[in-house]
Symmetry: D2
Subunit: 377 residues, 4 copies
C-alpha cells in the first residue's frame, strides 16, 4: 500500500515552515531538503525579515550548513495570503509559544493543515497530540472535519516524546507511577534561550513548565480515544527537569512502578520488537526501529547516540534505551531522545507523512476557503 | 567545652596526608593550610616521588594555587616509618582504591589514626563510616580500643554524603524508599579519570559501583549502633548515577516515599533548623548550617552554590537543597554537595576534628607501638 | 606616606556603583566588600529596579555569593540626586556602553568623581585612561580642574589592560610592532551577552570593536603626556580577537618585534622585577607583583592562573606571563589577565585608590555644585 | 582520464588500517566505508585485541556509529603476515608515534604501500610529506622505486595541513614570515590524550612539539623537489599552539608578511579560484573547492564550519578562511581545518587516491616479496 501511495505521488506536496529561522525551524528545513513527498515552497519568519533570502536571514546553527535550495527562498510573512501565494496549504510550525496560538488558529481556520511543534494547543480537545508510533488513532480527532477544512496536529514536547515512546511497549505491563529526572540539552532552550554564562559548568534544575507538560502530555497521548474525545491515562508522574551543558540530546533517568510481576527479558523483548504504523507504512522519516536497546553498561550517551536511527533519512528519529534493571516491580532505565529531531521537527514531519499516507493532505482546500481569500489578494 | 578544648591546644597535632597529589589530596592540603588544630607535617605520595618538594611534584588543580608552606614540604613515602619520622600519628588518606586497603590496614595496625576517604573499609564491621552531623555515635565502634591502638574512620562516598545529610532530618517522617538520579561532576573521577573527549558535550549514565555504594552506605550510616555493631537501615534506594560536564559539585534529584502524612512546611523547618554535634562543638570546618534551603525555583546550581557554607573555613561544607515539593507522601527535592570538599576531604577533616574534640587523638601511640619500629629506623 | 594616608582615614569614603547588577558591577560589589578605604553607600541599577533590595534584584553570578551587607542595600536610580542622597560623590561605573556616555558626562559635570569601566570616553582628550602601574601620570589630565569639580577616569578594555601591563617593562627595548591573538572568556561578553549554543564547543573569531580598541587604547596608554594632552605611542598592532568557551580569564598570544638586540634573560628580569607606584603606595588592591612569570612550559592557563595575585585582596590583579622565547628580535610570549577583575572592576578600583592616596577624592563637591542641585530635590 | 581510471576498477583495492581503534583510525574506517576504489579488508590493533570483532573492541567516538561492515571484521595484528593473509598490500597508518617508526619501516621494507598519519618519517629524505593540492610532485620521491617495492607516503600534522593549504595560493605573492596562533581541538590529543579536568574551562598554551612541526613541515611541503630530494622553503614561522575546549576543528589566526605590495581583492581571488590536481582528477575524497572563503565577519567557526566540503564524500575536507585584512604588506586571516579529517585521515586517503589514479597502487607486490614471506605463513 505504501508503494502504491508513493507511485501516485507524481507531484510533491508544497509545504511551508513557520518560524523557519529558529533551531526547530532549521531542523524542519534540513529534514525537508530532498524529501520524497514534500517540497519546501514557503519559509516564513517575522514580518521584518520578509523579502530577504532565507540563506541571508538565517543564523544557521546546524552542522552541514543551510541547504542551498532553501537558502535561495525569499522569506514570506506567516500569513495565510503569503502562504497561499506560494501554493502552500500544509504548514509546519516552529513558532514561538507567544505567537503560535493565534497564528495557528487563524491558519487552520482558513483551511491550512498545520503540523505544529508549539505547545499552544496541546491540551485543546480538538487538537490531537500525536506520536505516530504511539497513538496514530488520535488523528481521528480531526477526521470528522469537512473536506477542505483545516486542522492542527501537534507533537508533544521534546522530553515527553522520548518518554512516551519508551512507555508505549510497557503499557501491557501496567504502569502505576513514574519518577523521571531529565538531563536536557542546550538546544532545547532555543537559539538564544540561555546565556552562555548560565549554562557553562552548570546544571540548572528548572525548565519552566516542563515537568507539568511531561505529566499532562504523557497521560493525554497514552489516553484512549472514544469518538471525538480523549480519556487521558492516569499515571502518576514525578519529574525533575534539568538543563545540562550538552548541545543536543535529552537523556532521561526513569523509574517505573509496574502493576504486576514481570521478568526483565520480557521487557527487553517488548522494547526490542516494538514496531508500529510508521514502520509498516515505511514512512520516509520513520526509523526502522523506533527503540534501540543498548547492551553496553554505560549507554546511551548524547555524544554517541543522539543521531541513532536508520536509514539516513531517519537519523535522530530513534530513541535509545539502556541501563535496564528490575527490582521487584520497580523498573529502572535510561533513555535518550534527540530533542530537536525526534523531540520536535522530526515527529511533526512524521505526523505529516502519516497524514499524507492516509490521504488527509491530498485534497486541496475547499472552494469556500478559496473564495474567501482569493489568490493574488 | 569547645572553648576549653581550644585553649588547651598549645601545640597543634601533626598530621600527614596520603595520596597527597591527587584531587582529594590537594583538598586536604588546602583545608589543612592554616588549620587551627592540625599542622601538616608529612605529605606522602608514590615512592617514586619521595624526596621531591610537594610544590614541584604536584600538578595543582585547585584555584588559588598550592599553599606555600605545603609546597616546601619534601614528599615522603606512605609508610609508617616515614610518617613517624615526621612526628605524625594522625593521617588523612586520599589513596586510590587499589592500594588503600593494604596500606591503611598496615598503618592502623601499627598505631596510626587513619581518616580515610577511600572506600576499602566502608563495609568493614570495625570501621565506622561517619558524617559528624549524622552518626557521630558510630565513632563508638573504635572507642573500645586500647590506648595507643590505631584505628580507621571512613567517610562515605561523595554522592552518598550529600544524600545522607539531606535524609537525616527526614528520618522522623519515615523514609520508605528513594529514587535518586545524580548529576556528578568531573572532579569526582579524579585528576585524570576521564578523557576530555568522553566528558565533553556528553552525559555518561554510569559511574561504576556508585549506585551500589549509595544504597549500601546510606543504610549503614543511617543504621543503629548497638555496642560494637551497626544494624543498617533498610531504605530501598534506586539510584541512577550519571557524569555531567561540570567541574565540581554533585547535584542529585531525589524522590522519597514517606511513611506517613506530613505537610511541606514541617519538612522545610526540619531542614532549616537542622544542626548537630559539629555545630554545637563549633568544629573549625563545621558550617554554621549544614543544610541551606534555597527558596528560588531554579536553585541549587553547581556554578552558584557548590561553595556554600559559612564561615570561610567551611566553604563547600554545606549541602544546598531546593525544589521541594510534596504530593501525597511523595517528597521531591534537589540537593547539591561539593564532591571533593563535603563529599571527601572536608568530611574526613571534620571527622578528625570531632575525634580531636573528644580526645581520641590526644594520646600518643603506645609504647609497644613505639618499640616495634623505632624512630630513626 | 602610605601609612600616614591610612591613619588619616578616620571615616571611609562613601562610594556608589552604577550598573551594579551586571558581571562587572558584581565584581565592584565583591571587591568593595570590606574595603579598608571605601564604603559602598549606593548601588544603582535601571530605574525599574530602584527600591528593591540589591540581593533580591541581582542575578548573582560570582562564586561565593552576594556579600550580605551589599545584599541589604536598596537599589537607587543612577542619577545625581539619588547618589547624593546616599552621601556619595565617588562612583564606579559598570554601565552598558549604550547609556554610559550621557550618564557619566552628567555626573562628572555635576561634581561626581567617576571611575568608569565603560568605553565611552576612552578616546576623549579630557579623560585619562589609566592603569596605575603603567601611566599614573596621565591622571594629570584631571589635576587642573577646580576644587569640587567632577571628573572621569577610565580604565582600558579588558584585553588591552593585560597587554599593556606586559608591554610596559618592554618599553625600554623598543617595540616596533605587535601581533596578538586573544582567547577571550565568556564573562567578557556580559551576563547574557552570548547565547550558550553559540559559545559551546566553538571559537568565535570576532569580538566587535575589540581589535581596534586594543590598538588605539594601547597606544594611548603608552603615550606621553605633555601638559593636558597625550601624544600616543605608535606601535603597529595586528590583533585577532576570539571568544573561547572559558568562564573567566583572557589569554593572549603575543609576538613583538623589538627595535634592537637584546637577550632573553634581560627581558625576563624586566618582567620579574617590575613594580610601580601602586606597589610602592601599597594600595589595598595592588598585587605585590603585577606580573608573574611562569617557568612551566604549559602555563599560564585560565583554570589555574586567572586568580593570580597576592595578598588575598589582590586576587586576580596580577597578569601571568609564560612561554617566553626570543628569535632574533622577535619576542613571543603568552599572557593571562582576569578580564573582569584586573581587566575591569579591579583596575577601576585601583585607579580610585591611587586617586584617594593622592588626595583627589578628599575634598567634597564644591559649593557651586551643591547649590546647583540641592539635596532633597 | 579519471573516468577511464574509474571504469577500469573492476575490483576494489584491498586496504588495511593500522591503529584502527584510535580517533584517526576511526576516521579512516568511516571514510573507507562505501569507498568507490578501496575495500577495507584488514583492521589491525594491538596484538592483545587481535581476534576480536572490530565493533566489539573499538570504543567508537564519532557520531553516526561504527559502520556495520567494519564492525564485523576480526581485528588482526599489525604485521605483514596478518595483513597479507587478508590480501592487503596498501595500508593506512594511524599508529601512535611510539611504535609507528619501526612498524612502518618493516612494512614498507617488505613491499607494503604505507600511507601514514604518524610523524615518524616526516623529515626522512625518502618519505614525501604530501598534501595532494599542494605538492603532488613530491610523490616523485618514491617513483624511482622498483616494481613491487613498498613505500611510505606521509601527510603533515593536522595544524600544518590547514596552514599549508591556505599558504599555497599566496606563494606567488611571496611570504616572508608568518605568525600563527592556533586554537586546537580536543580530538587532536587523541582518544584519551587529555584528562577532562585539564581541558575543561581552560586553554592550554602548549602542544608539545607542535610549533616545531608547523615550522619544519610547512617549509618542507612548500619546498622544491629536485630529483630525489627536497629543498625546503625558508619562511620564518612563529607559532603559538594552544588547546581549547572544542571537540573538533583547529582554528588558526595567521599574520603573514608578504614580500611585495598587493591588493586584497587579488588575494581573495587567489584563494577562491584555487583548484589543483585532486579537483581535476575528481578524486573521490577531493572537495570541489579546497578553500572556502567566508564573507561573514565572524566566521569560520568550528561548530559551524568544520565539516565544510562538498560533495558529501568530502565533508570536512575543505579549509575555511575568513577575517581577511591587509595593512601594508601584512595580511591577516583566520582559517579552520577539521583536524582528524583534512588534518589526518582525509589527506592520507586523498594521497592514496592520487597514488591509485597514477597507477602507483596497481601492481601487486613483487615476486621476491611474495617468496620472502609466503601467504599462509
Amino acid at each position: 500500500m505504501t508503494g502504491t501511495f508513493r507511485q501516485e505521488k507524481i507531484s510533491k506536496i508544497k509545504v511551508g515552515v513557520l518560524g523557519s529561522t529558529g533551531i526547530v525551524g532549521q531542523q524542519f528545513v534540513r529534514m525537508l531538503n530532498g524529501h520524497p513527498w514534500f517540497e519546501t515552497a514557503a519559509l516564513a519568519a517575522s514580518p521584518a525579515a520578509a523579502g530577504r533570502r532565507y540563506g541571508d536571514a538565517v543564523d544557521w546553527m546546524l552542522s552541514g550548513g543551510c541547504p542551498s535550495p532553501a537558502g535561495r527562498i525569499l522569506l514570506c510573512r506567516p500569513t495565510g495570503s503569503d502562504l497561499r501565494r506560494s501554493g502552500v496549504h500544509v504548514v509546519f510550525s516552529a513558532l514561538p509559544a507567544s505567537v503560535a496560538g493565534e497564528m495557528e488558529e487563524d491558519l487552520s481556520g482558513s483551511g491550512f493543515r498545520v503540523f505544529t511543534n508549539a505547545g499552544a494547543f496541546r491540551m485543546h480537545p480538538g487538537v490531537p497530540v500525536v506520536i505516530p508510533e504511539v497513538n496514530p488513532d488520535h488523528l481521528g480527532l480531526i477526521s470528522g472535519r469537512e473536506s477542505g477544512e483545516g486542522f492542527i496536529v501537534a507533537n508533544a514536547n521534546c522530553s515527553t516524546t522520548g518518554l512516551v515512546l519508551a512507555l508505549k511497549p510497557l503499557e501491557g505491563f501496567g504502569i502505576r507511577s513514574l519518577q523521571v529526572a531529565t538531563f536536557q540539552a542546550l538546544s532545547g532552550a532555543g537559539r538564544s534561550g540561555l546565556p552562555a554564562l548560565r549554562a557553562f559548568d552548570n546544571v540548572i534544575p528548572l525548565i519552566p513548565g516542563e515537568e507539568e507538560k511531561m505529566s499532562r502530555e504523557t497521560n493525554r497521548i497514552l489516553g484512549r480515544r472514544e469518538g471525538g474525545s480523549i480519556t487521558p491515562a492516569d499515571i502518576e508522574i514525578t519529574a525533575t527537569c534539568c538543563r545540562v551543558p550538552v548541545r543536543d540530546g535529552h537523556l532521561e533517568a526513569v523509574t517505573a512502578e509496574l502493576e504486576g510481576d514481570v521478568d526483565l527479558s520480557r521487557i527487553k523483548r517488548a522494547f526490542h520488537d516494538y514496531k508500529a504504523l510508521p514502520q509498516r507504512l515505511r514512512l520516509p522519516s520513520a526509523p526502522r526501529r523506533p527503540l534501540i536497546i543498548r547492551g553496553e553498561s554505560d549507554r546511551p550517551q548524547p555524544a554517541l547516540d543522539r543521531l541513532a536511527g536508520t536509514p539516513r533519512s531517519a537519523r535522530g528519529m530513534a530513541v535509545s534505551i539502556g541501563r535496564l534493571s528490575l527490582r521487584g516491580r520497580r523498573l529502572r532505565f535510561v533513555l535518550l531522545v534527540h530533542n530537536t529531531i525526534r523531540g520536535a521537527a522530526g515527529t511533526s514531519l512524521l505526523n505529516a507523512e502519516m497524514a499524507a499516507a492516509r490521504g488527509l493532505l491530498d485534497e486541496g482546500p475547499s472552494e469556500g476557503f478559496r473564495k474567501e481569500e482569493p489568490c493574488g489578494s
